[in-house]
Subunit: 94 residues, 2 copies
Amino acid sequence: MDHLSDGDIEINLKELSDWKRDEKFIMRRYHFPSFIDAMAFVNHVAGIAEQTNHHPFISIDYKVVTLKLTSWHAGGLTQLDFDEAKQFDRLYKT
Amino acid sequence: MDHLSDGDIEINLKELSDWKRDEKFIMRRYHFPSFIDAMAFVNHVAGIAEQTNHHPFISIDYKVVTLKLTSWHAGGLTQLDFDEAKQFDRLYKT
């Protein structure tokens, strides 16, 4: 899978208003009422990552979880990153 | 609880050879054979953090977990950070 052009990345980002681009990554912070809620979210994220074999960089700063996605094999962002970002956002809503 | 002096931090760090000081933090990277193993470790770390009500900054980069500890209430490193670091190391060994 080839990485996306800057134009395609911009189009994809318009659908993901809470995500920001950071060079070869897209990233988002998620806020939770407690550390336990944050960890529950991280465990669901890990399940999705294993299913798709596409693992985000995850950080947990007490009640704040940050996810960063890129496609190493493509040397940049691919559709896979944006599809997975949408999955994480749907998970967060529920 | 007051934060430790530089001298006391050095003494504590001698017992924790895999940890490095980074300003107000101590940090260590742990390597795992798989992402699932890394996540299992993180979940145990989270359990310890909840028990002690002292939460490290956690990051998960596929098979590598980084933990960073500091004591916000003391404005620096306290004995609590070093005691918890030892708990995480014991957990890693098992």
